[in-house]
Chain length 196, copies 2
């Protein structure tokens, strides 16, 4: 796409490779950034201590030019066996996954993997507050969707049920998270209001 000044749109312009890599390794980057910023704000204001877990990697080859600066020369992305975020809020264990979809009318369940469901079921059984943060990026709407509801939809898809959760259902069974300045994804408000 060309603009009147003859320059290409920055969206389509060639990017240095590191930029593309970041996009690739962080699908749904905007939501992730918003949540990281929110978690930082929660920590700075001493409201809760919640962190994103590092991406698990399988390290194959490491060089040691100096002991203090080991360089990993070959590694691969590994599938995580848990969700991406966890921490503590008022003594309770908090655990969640965040997903973005470009779909405007429903959330495809294929965004979630079996091992994430397994992990969520485990922590729920042990008393966690567990949920999914779903962003409909085209609508710029973000929702808190309880893990317990997700489990029902997950099972149903294998018994002739839908492969996606309609937006209306997300609204009905979940809670909208209004975008705010410091806390772009203020999920603790939902927890405080409905789960404590």
């Amino acid at each position: 796409m060309h603009y009147p000044n003859g320059k290409r749109s920055s969206v389509n312009a060639a990017k240095p490779s590191v930029y593309n890599e970041t996009i690739y390794s962080n699908r749904g980057m905007t939501l992730e950034e918003d949540i990281n910023e929110t978690n930082n704000y929660y920590r700075e204001t001493n409201r809760a201590i919640i962190h994103k877990k590092p991406t698990p990697l399988q390290i194959v080859k490491v060089d040691y030019p100096r002991r203090s600066a080991a360089v990993i020369k070959e590694a691969y992305f590994k599938q995580t066996s848990t969700t991406d975020y966890n921490g503590v809020f008022k003594g309770r264990y908090i655990d969640f996954e965040a997903k973005e979809t470009k779909n405007k009318t429903s959330f495809p369940i294929s965004n979630i993997h079996q091992h994430q469901i397994d992990h969520m079921k485990q922590v729920v059984e042990h008393g966690a507050i567990c949920f999914l943060i779903i962003r409909f990026s085209m609508l710029q709407e973000t929702y808190y969707y309880p893990a317990e509801k997700l489990f029902i939809k997950w099972e149903a898809q294998f018994n002739g049920g839908r492969k996606s959760i309609p937006l209306d259902t997300v609204k009905k069974e979940g809670y909208i998270i209004p975008i705010q300045f410091h806390t772009r994804v203020d999920y603790l408000n939902v927890i405080e209001k409905y789960y404590m």
Copy 2:
């Protein structure tokens, strides 16, 4: 060191580089393996859901020979801003760090870093059950040492206090964790007995 049979002690023998790398990236590997095994057993027997966090890496260069198999070509170890282990036990948030020492009479506080203390203080303030697992590897003794006691020792070292915690103090203020078959480091027993 040479043994009567003329062979060098296996401890000093040359290792394939991958072995050295593993040792390097997992200082205190034996304790880590024991804790991972214990956590697996806790999950399998549905007693608690506790995971080790992945090692955080700064990824600099990634190749995409095929989209399905991205290869990381340059990355560096990053300092973690939290502790290594966390999870949920009976609804409570559990958070701990594990350290081994070869010292036979005391635990050098230099094994712990400022950012770990900061994190531990934060989670304690929010109601976590937080502690250190200390193994005296030469004695084959493992202890549960409460974070609250660690904070006192941490501060004291900057005010003329000791730079290490004597084994006697660890015994007095902490709890021994007996080595068992499936649960090599059964720290939940201590939590159940003294913190619930």
